[in-house]
Amino acid sequence: MKDSSDKKNSVTETVSIEDKLFTINYDHNHETHITCIGDPKEWEVLNPLQWTCPAKVYTKNQDSGNLDIDFENCIECGTCQILCPDHILWVYPKGGYGIRNRCG
Protein backbone atom coordinates (compact mmCIF):
# COMPACT_ATOMS: atom_id res chain seq x y z
CA MET A 1 0.00 0.00 0.00
CA LYS A 2 1.30 3.41 -0.95
CA ASP A 3 1.81 6.01 1.70
CA SER A 4 1.01 9.62 0.94
CA SER A 5 4.70 10.42 1.35
CA ASP A 6 5.74 8.25 -1.60
CA LYS A 7 3.37 9.70 -4.16
CA LYS A 8 4.96 10.00 -7.57
CA ASN A 9 4.19 13.73 -7.89
CA SER A 10 5.12 15.15 -4.53
CA VAL A 11 5.24 18.94 -4.74
CA THR A 12 7.13 21.07 -2.25
CA GLU A 13 5.22 21.45 0.94
CA THR A 14 6.01 24.42 3.09
CA VAL A 15 2.89 24.68 5.24
CA SER A 16 1.82 21.23 6.34
CA ILE A 17 -1.75 20.05 6.13
CA GLU A 18 -1.71 19.74 9.91
CA ASP A 19 -0.97 23.47 10.18
CA LYS A 20 -3.69 24.24 7.66
CA LEU A 21 -6.25 22.19 9.58
CA PHE A 22 -5.26 24.05 12.72
CA THR A 23 -6.79 27.23 11.24
CA ILE A 24 -10.24 25.63 11.01
CA ASN A 25 -12.96 26.10 13.59
CA TYR A 26 -14.70 22.82 14.47
CA ASP A 27 -17.48 21.94 16.86
CA HIS A 28 -17.30 18.19 17.39
CA ASN A 29 -19.85 15.84 18.89
CA HIS A 30 -17.31 12.95 18.68
CA GLU A 31 -19.66 10.72 16.67
CA THR A 32 -18.20 9.53 13.38
CA HIS A 33 -20.04 10.40 10.19
CA ILE A 34 -17.77 8.27 7.99
CA THR A 35 -18.08 4.49 7.62
CA CYS A 36 -16.29 1.97 5.39
CA ILE A 37 -18.67 -0.48 3.79
CA GLY A 38 -17.89 -4.00 2.67
CA ASP A 39 -14.90 -6.29 3.07
CA PRO A 40 -11.76 -4.72 4.57
CA LYS A 41 -9.72 -6.82 2.12
CA GLU A 42 -11.15 -4.73 -0.71
CA TRP A 43 -10.08 -1.49 0.91
CA GLU A 44 -7.06 -1.28 -1.39
CA VAL A 45 -9.35 0.76 -3.63
CA LEU A 46 -9.43 3.34 -0.86
CA ASN A 47 -5.68 4.05 -1.20
CA PRO A 48 -6.14 7.19 -3.34
CA LEU A 49 -8.10 8.74 -0.47
CA GLN A 50 -4.79 9.14 1.36
CA TRP A 51 -3.76 11.94 -0.96
CA THR A 52 -7.10 12.97 -2.51
CA CYS A 53 -8.89 13.85 0.72
CA PRO A 54 -8.02 17.54 1.28
CA ALA A 55 -8.10 17.16 5.08
CA LYS A 56 -5.95 14.04 5.44
CA VAL A 57 -8.78 12.14 7.08
CA TYR A 58 -7.50 8.83 5.67
CA THR A 59 -4.07 7.50 6.61
CA LYS A 60 -2.57 4.02 6.55
CA ASN A 61 -1.86 2.70 10.01
CA GLN A 62 1.78 1.57 9.88
CA ASP A 63 1.26 -1.15 12.51
CA SER A 64 -2.02 -2.73 11.48
CA GLY A 65 -1.94 -1.85 7.75
CA ASN A 66 -5.54 -0.73 8.05
CA LEU A 67 -6.84 2.63 6.99
CA ASP A 68 -7.32 5.01 9.91
CA ILE A 69 -10.14 7.50 9.57
CA ASP A 70 -9.67 10.77 11.50
CA PHE A 71 -13.23 11.94 11.00
CA GLU A 72 -12.59 14.95 13.22
CA ASN A 73 -10.29 16.40 10.52
CA CYS A 74 -13.11 16.29 7.99
CA ILE A 75 -13.86 19.61 6.23
CA GLU A 76 -17.11 18.21 4.81
CA CYS A 77 -16.34 18.52 1.10
CA GLY A 78 -17.59 15.04 0.15
CA THR A 79 -14.62 14.07 -2.05
CA CYS A 80 -14.34 10.61 -0.46
CA GLN A 81 -17.88 9.48 -1.29
CA ILE A 82 -17.47 10.77 -4.87
CA LEU A 83 -14.20 8.88 -5.32
CA CYS A 84 -15.22 5.67 -3.53
CA PRO A 85 -19.02 5.57 -3.70
CA ASP A 86 -19.17 1.82 -3.09
CA HIS A 87 -16.89 1.78 -0.07
CA ILE A 88 -17.30 5.04 1.81
CA LEU A 89 -20.53 5.99 3.46
CA TRP A 90 -20.13 9.67 4.23
CA VAL A 91 -23.03 11.63 5.63
CA TYR A 92 -23.31 15.14 7.07
CA PRO A 93 -22.39 15.39 10.74
CA LYS A 94 -25.34 15.87 13.07
CA GLY A 95 -26.99 19.27 12.59
CA GLY A 96 -24.94 22.11 14.10
CA TYR A 97 -21.75 20.04 14.46
CA GLY A 98 -18.59 19.74 12.37
CA ILE A 99 -16.81 22.58 10.58
CA ARG A 100 -17.78 26.18 11.25
CA ASN A 101 -16.20 28.37 8.58
CA ARG A 102 -15.45 31.87 9.82
CA CYS A 103 -14.56 33.13 6.32
CA GLY A 104 -15.88 30.59 3.83
Binding site: T12, L21, T23, I75, G104
Partner: protein
Protein backbone atom coordinates in the same frame (compact mmCIF):
# COMPACT_ATOMS: atom_id res chain seq x y z
CA UNK B 1 -47.37 25.26 12.23
CA UNK B 2 -48.22 24.98 8.54
CA UNK B 3 -45.81 25.95 5.81
CA UNK B 4 -46.39 26.55 2.11
CA UNK B 5 -42.81 25.66 1.23
CA UNK B 6 -39.80 23.98 2.83
CA UNK B 7 -36.42 25.04 1.47
CA UNK B 8 -33.47 22.72 2.10
CA UNK B 9 -30.38 24.86 2.68
CA UNK B 10 -29.55 28.49 3.40
CA UNK B 11 -26.84 28.91 0.75
CA UNK B 12 -26.97 31.13 -2.32
CA UNK B 13 -29.83 29.26 -4.03
CA UNK B 14 -31.88 28.51 -0.92
CA UNK B 15 -31.61 32.10 0.27
CA UNK B 16 -32.63 33.44 -3.14
CA UNK B 17 -35.73 31.21 -3.12
CA UNK B 18 -36.52 32.14 0.50
CA UNK B 19 -36.25 35.90 -0.16
CA UNK B 20 -38.50 35.64 -3.25
CA UNK B 21 -41.11 33.53 -1.47
CA UNK B 22 -41.13 35.49 1.79
CA UNK B 23 -41.42 38.79 -0.12
CA UNK B 24 -44.41 37.31 -1.94
CA UNK B 25 -46.10 36.51 1.37
CA UNK B 26 -45.61 32.72 1.42
CA UNK B 27 -45.09 30.83 4.67
CA UNK B 28 -41.51 29.61 4.25
CA UNK B 29 -39.44 27.26 6.37
CA UNK B 30 -35.73 27.18 5.57
CA UNK B 31 -33.71 24.30 7.02
CA UNK B 32 -29.94 24.72 7.41
CA UNK B 33 -27.44 22.19 8.78
CA UNK B 34 -25.05 24.82 10.17
CA UNK B 35 -25.63 26.55 13.49
CA UNK B 36 -25.71 29.71 11.37
CA UNK B 37 -26.26 30.06 7.62
CA UNK B 38 -22.91 30.29 5.83
CA UNK B 39 -20.71 28.36 8.21
CA UNK B 40 -20.73 25.28 5.95
CA UNK B 41 -20.40 27.24 2.74
CA UNK B 42 -17.47 28.22 0.59
CA UNK B 43 -16.55 29.66 -2.77
CA UNK B 44 -13.63 31.53 -4.43
CA UNK B 45 -15.46 33.78 -4.50
CA UNK B 46 -17.12 36.38 -6.63
CA UNK B 47 -20.75 37.49 -6.84
CA UNK B 48 -22.23 39.39 -9.77
CA UNK B 49 -24.36 42.40 -8.87
CA UNK B 50 -27.01 42.01 -11.58
CA UNK B 51 -28.25 38.67 -10.22
CA UNK B 52 -28.26 39.83 -6.59
CA UNK B 53 -29.93 43.20 -7.29
CA UNK B 54 -33.00 41.32 -8.52
CA UNK B 55 -33.35 39.91 -5.00
CA UNK B 56 -32.08 42.74 -2.79
CA UNK B 57 -32.10 45.94 -4.90
CA UNK B 58 -29.74 47.98 -2.74
CA UNK B 59 -27.65 45.10 -1.43
CA UNK B 60 -24.35 46.95 -1.78
CA UNK B 61 -25.36 49.41 0.94
CA UNK B 62 -25.58 46.76 3.69
CA UNK B 63 -24.29 43.40 2.47
CA UNK B 64 -20.90 42.18 3.77
CA UNK B 65 -19.16 42.54 0.42
CA UNK B 66 -15.37 42.73 0.24
CA UNK B 67 -14.04 44.51 -2.87
CA UNK B 68 -15.41 45.36 -6.30
CA UNK B 69 -13.60 43.44 -9.02
CA UNK B 70 -12.35 46.11 -11.40
CA UNK B 71 -9.42 44.27 -12.94
CA UNK B 72 -9.35 40.71 -14.23
CA UNK B 73 -6.11 38.92 -15.00
CA UNK B 74 -5.44 35.68 -16.83
CA UNK B 75 -2.03 34.10 -16.65
CA UNK B 76 -0.64 31.15 -18.55
CA UNK B 77 2.21 29.46 -16.75
CA UNK B 78 4.89 27.18 -18.12
CA UNK B 79 7.60 25.54 -16.02
CA UNK B 80 9.66 28.70 -15.59
CA UNK B 81 7.68 31.38 -17.41
CA UNK B 82 4.42 33.26 -17.14
CA UNK B 83 2.50 35.01 -19.93
CA UNK B 84 0.08 37.59 -18.55
CA UNK B 85 -3.09 39.19 -19.89
CA UNK B 86 -5.19 41.63 -17.89
CA UNK B 87 -8.29 43.70 -18.37
CA UNK B 88 -9.00 46.74 -16.23
CA UNK B 89 -12.09 48.87 -16.78
CA UNK B 90 -13.61 51.81 -14.89
CA UNK B 91 -17.02 50.59 -16.09
CA UNK B 92 -16.63 47.76 -13.54
CA UNK B 93 -16.49 50.31 -10.68
CA UNK B 94 -19.39 51.34 -8.44
CA UNK B 95 -21.15 54.57 -9.40
CA UNK B 96 -23.38 56.92 -7.42
CA UNK B 97 -26.44 54.83 -6.56
CA UNK B 98 -25.27 51.83 -8.58
CA UNK B 99 -23.16 48.87 -7.49
CA UNK B 100 -19.96 47.67 -9.11
CA UNK B 101 -20.20 44.87 -11.68
CA UNK B 102 -18.94 42.18 -9.30
CA UNK B 103 -17.64 41.84 -5.75
CA UNK B 104 -15.55 39.41 -3.80
CA UNK B 105 -17.36 38.00 -0.76
CA UNK B 106 -16.58 35.61 2.07
CA UNK B 107 -19.53 33.26 2.17
CA UNK B 108 -19.73 32.75 5.91
CA UNK B 109 -20.72 36.37 6.60
CA UNK B 110 -22.41 36.87 3.27
CA UNK B 111 -24.81 33.93 3.57
CA UNK B 112 -25.68 34.91 7.13
CA UNK B 113 -26.63 38.37 5.85
CA UNK B 114 -28.62 36.97 2.92
CA UNK B 115 -30.56 34.54 5.12
CA UNK B 116 -31.25 37.54 7.37
CA UNK B 117 -32.86 39.30 4.39
CA UNK B 118 -35.24 36.33 3.98
CA UNK B 119 -35.98 36.45 7.69
CA UNK B 120 -36.73 40.17 7.47
CA UNK B 121 -39.49 39.36 5.00
CA UNK B 122 -40.91 36.67 7.27
CA UNK B 123 -39.13 33.42 6.35
CA UNK B 124 -38.57 31.08 9.28
CA UNK B 125 -35.14 29.51 9.71
CA UNK B 126 -34.51 26.16 11.38
CA UNK B 127 -30.72 25.95 11.87
CA UNK B 128 -28.47 23.11 13.11
CA UNK B 129 -30.74 20.62 11.38
CA UNK B 130 -29.87 18.06 8.69
CA UNK B 131 -32.56 17.00 6.22
CA UNK B 132 -32.19 13.23 5.89
CA UNK B 133 -34.92 12.37 3.39
CA UNK B 134 -38.02 13.54 1.60
CA UNK B 135 -41.50 12.35 2.58
CA UNK B 136 -43.01 10.94 -0.60
CA UNK B 137 -46.66 9.89 -0.69
CA UNK B 138 -48.42 8.62 -3.82
CA UNK B 139 -45.48 9.79 -5.88
CA UNK B 140 -45.63 13.32 -4.51
CA UNK B 141 -43.09 15.06 -2.29
CA UNK B 142 -45.03 16.25 0.76
CA UNK B 143 -42.32 17.14 3.27
CA UNK B 144 -38.93 16.28 4.76
CA UNK B 145 -37.44 14.06 7.44
CA UNK B 146 -34.84 15.82 9.62
CA UNK B 147 -32.37 14.64 12.25
CA UNK B 148 -34.44 16.26 15.01
CA UNK B 149 -36.52 14.08 17.34
CA UNK B 150 -39.94 13.54 15.67
CA UNK B 151 -38.24 15.21 12.74
CA UNK B 152 -40.94 15.05 10.07
CA UNK B 153 -42.06 18.41 8.70
CA UNK B 154 -44.71 18.65 6.02
CA UNK B 155 -45.40 21.13 3.23
CA UNK B 156 -46.96 20.74 -0.23
CA UNK B 157 -43.73 21.93 -1.87
CA UNK B 158 -40.04 21.29 -1.13
CA UNK B 159 -37.25 23.26 -2.84
CA UNK B 160 -33.77 21.70 -2.77
CA UNK B 161 -30.92 24.13 -2.32
CA UNK B 162 -28.81 21.34 -0.86
CA UNK B 163 -25.62 22.22 -2.66
CA UNK B 164 -23.18 19.95 -4.48
CA UNK B 165 -23.70 16.98 -2.16
CA UNK B 166 -27.42 16.65 -2.84
CA UNK B 167 -27.92 13.52 -0.74
CA UNK B 168 -31.65 13.97 -0.28
CA UNK B 169 -32.29 14.41 -4.00
CA UNK B 170 -30.00 11.50 -4.91
CA UNK B 171 -31.76 9.23 -2.43
CA UNK B 172 -35.01 9.76 -4.33
CA UNK B 173 -33.33 9.48 -7.75
CA UNK B 174 -33.80 13.15 -8.56
CA UNK B 175 -30.30 13.32 -10.01
CA UNK B 176 -27.31 11.06 -9.41
CA UNK B 177 -24.12 11.27 -7.44
CA UNK B 178 -21.53 12.71 -9.90
CA UNK B 179 -18.52 10.69 -11.09
CA UNK B 180 -15.00 11.73 -10.00
CA UNK B 181 -14.38 13.40 -13.37
CA UNK B 182 -17.61 15.40 -13.15
CA UNK B 183 -16.81 17.26 -9.99
CA UNK B 184 -13.93 19.58 -9.05
CA UNK B 185 -12.28 19.82 -5.66
CA UNK B 186 -11.18 23.32 -4.73
CA UNK B 187 -8.95 24.11 -1.77
CA UNK B 188 -8.44 27.65 -0.61
CA UNK B 189 -6.75 29.76 2.03
CA UNK B 190 -7.84 33.17 3.24
CA UNK B 191 -4.69 35.14 3.98
CA UNK B 192 -4.71 38.26 6.12
CA UNK B 193 -2.74 41.34 5.03
CA UNK B 194 -3.08 45.04 5.94
CA UNK B 195 -5.47 46.89 3.66
CA UNK B 196 -2.84 49.35 2.42
CA UNK B 197 -0.42 46.51 1.67
CA UNK B 198 -3.06 44.78 -0.45
CA UNK B 199 -3.73 48.03 -2.31
CA UNK B 200 -0.01 48.66 -2.90
CA UNK B 201 0.81 45.17 -4.05
CA UNK B 202 -2.16 44.76 -6.35
CA UNK B 203 -1.95 48.41 -7.52
CA UNK B 204 -5.55 49.14 -6.68
CA UNK B 205 -7.32 51.90 -4.77
CA UNK B 206 -9.77 51.53 -1.90
CA UNK B 207 -12.74 51.06 -4.24
CA UNK B 208 -11.01 48.63 -6.58
CA UNK B 209 -10.07 44.97 -6.55
CA UNK B 210 -8.38 42.41 -8.75
CA UNK B 211 -8.84 38.80 -9.74
CA UNK B 212 -6.17 36.48 -11.13
CA UNK B 213 -6.78 33.13 -12.77
CA UNK B 214 -3.70 31.09 -13.58
CA UNK B 215 -3.68 28.22 -16.05
CA UNK B 216 -1.06 25.82 -17.35
CA UNK B 217 1.85 24.17 -15.56
CA UNK B 218 0.77 25.59 -12.19
CA UNK B 219 -1.77 22.74 -11.77
CA UNK B 220 0.86 20.03 -12.49
CA UNK B 221 -1.17 18.43 -15.25
CA UNK B 222 -4.49 18.47 -13.39
CA UNK B 223 -7.39 19.95 -15.37
CA UNK B 224 -8.22 23.17 -13.58
CA UNK B 225 -6.70 26.46 -12.51
CA UNK B 226 -5.42 28.49 -9.58
CA UNK B 227 -6.98 31.77 -8.48
CA UNK B 228 -6.13 34.80 -6.39
CA UNK B 229 -8.77 37.36 -5.41
CA UNK B 230 -8.49 40.51 -3.32
CA UNK B 231 -10.82 40.95 -0.37
CA UNK B 232 -10.87 44.03 1.91
CA UNK B 233 -8.25 42.94 4.49
CA UNK B 234 -7.53 39.46 3.17
CA UNK B 235 -6.82 37.73 -0.12
CA UNK B 236 -8.31 34.40 -1.20
CA UNK B 237 -5.92 32.00 -2.89
CA UNK B 238 -6.90 28.60 -4.14
CA UNK B 239 -6.59 25.89 -6.71
CA UNK B 240 -9.09 23.44 -8.12
CA UNK B 241 -9.14 20.40 -10.36
CA UNK B 242 -11.28 17.36 -11.02
CA UNK B 243 -11.38 14.88 -8.15
CA UNK B 244 -10.36 12.22 -10.70
CA UNK B 245 -7.21 14.16 -11.61
CA UNK B 246 -6.03 14.59 -8.01
CA UNK B 247 -6.65 10.87 -7.47
CA UNK B 248 -5.05 9.59 -10.71
CA UNK B 249 -2.07 11.98 -10.75
CA UNK B 250 -1.40 11.21 -7.07
CA UNK B 251 -1.35 14.89 -6.18
CA UNK B 252 -2.58 16.15 -2.82
CA UNK B 253 -4.68 19.29 -3.27
CA UNK B 254 -3.15 20.97 -0.21
CA UNK B 255 0.37 20.35 -1.54
CA UNK B 256 -0.64 21.75 -4.92
CA UNK B 257 -1.93 24.82 -3.07
CA UNK B 258 1.51 25.22 -1.48
CA UNK B 259 3.05 24.95 -4.94
CA UNK B 260 0.71 27.75 -6.11
CA UNK B 261 1.50 29.93 -3.08
CA UNK B 262 5.22 29.53 -3.69
CA UNK B 263 5.04 30.27 -7.42
CA UNK B 264 7.49 33.07 -8.18
CA UNK B 265 4.76 35.36 -9.57
CA UNK B 266 2.36 34.78 -6.68
CA UNK B 267 4.63 34.65 -3.65
CA UNK B 268 5.34 38.42 -3.62
CA UNK B 269 1.59 39.12 -3.31
CA UNK B 270 1.33 36.95 -0.19
CA UNK B 271 4.59 37.81 1.57
CA UNK B 272 4.18 38.29 5.31
CA UNK B 273 0.50 37.33 5.22
CA UNK B 274 -1.10 35.08 7.78
CA UNK B 275 -3.41 32.24 6.81
CA UNK B 276 -6.55 32.66 8.87
CA UNK B 277 -8.56 29.84 7.33
CA UNK B 278 -8.05 26.78 5.13
CA UNK B 279 -11.08 25.18 3.50
CA UNK B 280 -12.16 22.85 0.70
CA UNK B 281 -15.31 22.38 -1.33
CA UNK B 282 -16.65 20.57 -4.40
CA UNK B 283 -18.00 22.17 -7.57
CA UNK B 284 -20.39 20.18 -9.79
CA UNK B 285 -19.13 20.31 -13.38
CA UNK B 286 -21.29 17.69 -15.08
CA UNK B 287 -23.02 20.45 -17.05
CA UNK B 288 -26.07 20.30 -19.27
CA UNK B 289 -25.73 16.64 -20.25
CA UNK B 290 -25.94 15.55 -16.60
CA UNK B 291 -28.71 17.90 -15.46
CA UNK B 292 -30.94 16.19 -12.88
CA UNK B 293 -34.71 16.10 -12.73
CA UNK B 294 -35.29 19.76 -12.03
CA UNK B 295 -39.00 19.36 -11.34
CA UNK B 296 -41.15 16.64 -9.76
CA UNK B 297 -44.52 16.57 -8.04
CA UNK B 298 -44.07 18.87 -5.04
CA UNK B 299 -40.33 19.34 -5.69
CA UNK B 300 -37.92 21.81 -7.34
CA UNK B 301 -34.10 21.75 -7.56
CA UNK B 302 -31.86 24.84 -7.60
CA UNK B 303 -28.21 25.92 -7.54
CA UNK B 304 -25.34 23.44 -7.16
CA UNK B 305 -27.76 20.59 -6.38
CA UNK B 306 -29.07 21.09 -9.92
CA UNK B 307 -25.51 21.36 -11.38
CA UNK B 308 -26.03 25.01 -12.24
CA UNK B 309 -22.43 26.04 -12.71
CA UNK B 310 -20.42 27.35 -15.63
CA UNK B 311 -16.93 26.48 -14.48
CA UNK B 312 -15.23 27.90 -17.58
CA UNK B 313 -16.43 31.37 -16.57
CA UNK B 314 -16.15 30.75 -12.80
CA UNK B 315 -19.91 31.40 -12.56
CA UNK B 316 -21.99 29.59 -9.95
CA UNK B 317 -23.34 32.02 -7.38
CA UNK B 318 -25.23 33.95 -10.07
CA UNK B 319 -26.74 30.68 -11.36
CA UNK B 320 -27.75 29.92 -7.76
CA UNK B 321 -29.29 33.38 -7.19
CA UNK B 322 -31.26 33.27 -10.44
CA UNK B 323 -32.39 29.63 -10.23
CA UNK B 324 -33.45 30.17 -6.60
CA UNK B 325 -35.39 33.29 -7.57
CA UNK B 326 -37.11 31.56 -10.52
CA UNK B 327 -38.03 28.57 -8.33
CA UNK B 328 -39.44 31.03 -5.79
CA UNK B 329 -41.51 32.83 -8.45
CA UNK B 330 -43.00 29.58 -9.75
CA UNK B 331 -43.64 28.41 -6.19
CA UNK B 332 -45.62 31.60 -5.46
CA UNK B 333 -47.82 30.88 -8.49
CA UNK B 334 -48.24 27.26 -7.37
CA UNK B 335 -49.32 28.40 -3.90
CA UNK B 336 -51.82 30.86 -5.40
CA UNK B 337 -53.26 28.14 -7.64
CA UNK B 338 -52.94 25.38 -5.03
CA UNK B 339 -51.33 23.25 -7.74
CA UNK B 340 -48.02 21.57 -6.88
CA UNK B 341 -48.06 19.00 -9.70
CA UNK B 342 -44.96 18.62 -11.85
CA UNK B 343 -47.15 19.72 -14.71
CA UNK B 344 -47.67 23.13 -13.09
CA UNK B 345 -44.16 23.37 -11.67
CA UNK B 346 -42.68 22.76 -15.13
CA UNK B 347 -43.00 26.53 -15.56
CA UNK B 348 -39.71 26.58 -13.60
CA UNK B 349 -37.91 24.63 -16.32
CA UNK B 350 -39.42 26.94 -18.94
CA UNK B 351 -38.15 30.00 -17.02
CA UNK B 352 -34.68 28.44 -16.77
CA UNK B 353 -34.74 27.77 -20.52
CA UNK B 354 -35.68 31.38 -21.24
CA UNK B 355 -32.91 32.71 -18.96
CA UNK B 356 -29.15 32.61 -19.44
CA UNK B 357 -28.99 29.58 -17.17
CA UNK B 358 -29.98 26.77 -19.51
CA UNK B 359 -28.85 28.75 -22.55
CA UNK B 360 -25.32 28.98 -21.13
CA UNK B 361 -25.28 25.43 -19.82
CA UNK B 362 -26.38 24.16 -23.21
CA UNK B 363 -23.86 26.24 -25.14
CA UNK B 364 -21.04 24.98 -22.88
CA UNK B 365 -22.17 21.36 -22.79
CA UNK B 366 -19.28 20.17 -25.00
CA UNK B 367 -16.51 22.27 -23.45
CA UNK B 368 -15.79 20.14 -20.40
CA UNK B 369 -15.99 16.81 -22.20
CA UNK B 370 -13.62 18.31 -24.78
CA UNK B 371 -10.99 19.34 -22.21
CA UNK B 372 -11.41 16.10 -20.30
CA UNK B 373 -10.51 14.24 -23.49
CA UNK B 374 -7.84 16.71 -24.54
CA UNK B 375 -5.88 17.48 -21.39
CA UNK B 376 -2.82 17.84 -23.66
CA UNK B 377 -4.20 21.18 -24.89
CA UNK B 378 -3.80 22.71 -21.44
CA UNK B 379 -0.29 21.27 -21.16
CA UNK B 380 1.12 21.81 -24.65
CA UNK B 381 -0.25 25.22 -25.56
CA UNK B 382 1.08 27.05 -22.49
CA UNK B 383 4.52 25.75 -23.54
CA UNK B 384 3.90 26.97 -27.04
CA UNK B 385 2.75 30.41 -25.87
CA UNK B 386 5.77 30.67 -23.59
CA UNK B 387 8.12 29.69 -26.41
CA UNK B 388 6.58 32.19 -28.81
CA UNK B 389 6.76 35.04 -26.27
CA UNK B 390 10.36 34.23 -25.39
CA UNK B 391 11.45 34.03 -29.03
CA UNK B 392 9.95 37.42 -29.80
CA UNK B 393 10.99 39.23 -26.64
CA UNK B 394 14.61 38.13 -26.28
CA UNK B 395 16.98 40.81 -27.62
CA UNK B 396 20.18 39.09 -28.71
CA UNK B 397 21.30 40.77 -31.93
CA UNK B 398 19.20 38.53 -34.19
CA UNK B 399 17.30 40.63 -36.76
CA UNK B 400 13.54 40.73 -36.07
CA UNK B 401 12.63 39.17 -39.42
CA UNK B 402 14.77 36.15 -38.68
CA UNK B 403 13.39 36.01 -35.13
CA UNK B 404 9.83 35.81 -36.36
CA UNK B 405 10.77 33.07 -38.83
CA UNK B 406 12.60 31.15 -36.09
CA UNK B 407 9.64 31.52 -33.78
CA UNK B 408 7.20 30.16 -36.35
CA UNK B 409 9.62 27.32 -37.16
CA UNK B 410 10.05 26.48 -33.49
CA UNK B 411 6.33 26.57 -32.78
CA UNK B 412 5.62 24.33 -35.75
CA UNK B 413 8.23 21.89 -34.52
CA UNK B 414 6.24 21.58 -31.27
CA UNK B 415 2.91 21.14 -33.06
CA UNK B 416 2.27 20.54 -36.75
CA UNK B 417 0.32 23.25 -38.59
CA UNK B 418 -2.40 20.70 -39.33
CA UNK B 419 -2.66 19.83 -35.62
CA UNK B 420 -2.83 23.51 -34.59
CA UNK B 421 -5.54 24.24 -37.14
CA UNK B 422 -7.46 21.14 -36.07
CA UNK B 423 -7.20 22.01 -32.35
CA UNK B 424 -8.25 25.60 -32.99
CA UNK B 425 -11.18 24.43 -35.09
CA UNK B 426 -12.33 21.99 -32.41
CA UNK B 427 -11.88 24.53 -29.64
CA UNK B 428 -13.83 27.21 -31.50
CA UNK B 429 -16.49 24.64 -32.33
CA UNK B 430 -17.16 23.76 -28.68
CA UNK B 431 -16.75 27.34 -27.42
CA UNK B 432 -18.72 28.96 -30.23
CA UNK B 433 -21.86 26.92 -29.74
Amino acid sequence: MNFDVIIIGAGAAGNAAAITLAKGGAKVLQIERGKFPGEKNLMGGIIYSSSLEELVPDFWKNAPIERPITEQNYWVSDKKTVTKLGYSDDAFKAKTEAPAHAYTVLRSEFDKWMAGEAKKHGAMLLPATVVLDLIVEEGKVVGVVTDRPNGEIRAPLVISGEGVNAFVSWKRNFGNKPKPDEVALVVKEVIELPEDVIEDRFQISANEGASYEIFGDITKGCLGYAFLYTNRKTVSIGVGSLVADFANNEIASYELLEHVKNHKSIKPFLKGGKTIEYAGHLIPEGGYKKLPTLVADGFLMTGDAALMVNAVHREGSNFAFVSGRLAGEVALEAIKNKDFSSNFLNAYRKKLEDSFILKDLRSYEDVFPFFRKRRDILNDYPQLISYAAKSLLTVDGTPKGKKKKNMVKGVLKMKSPAQIVKDLYNLLKVLGK
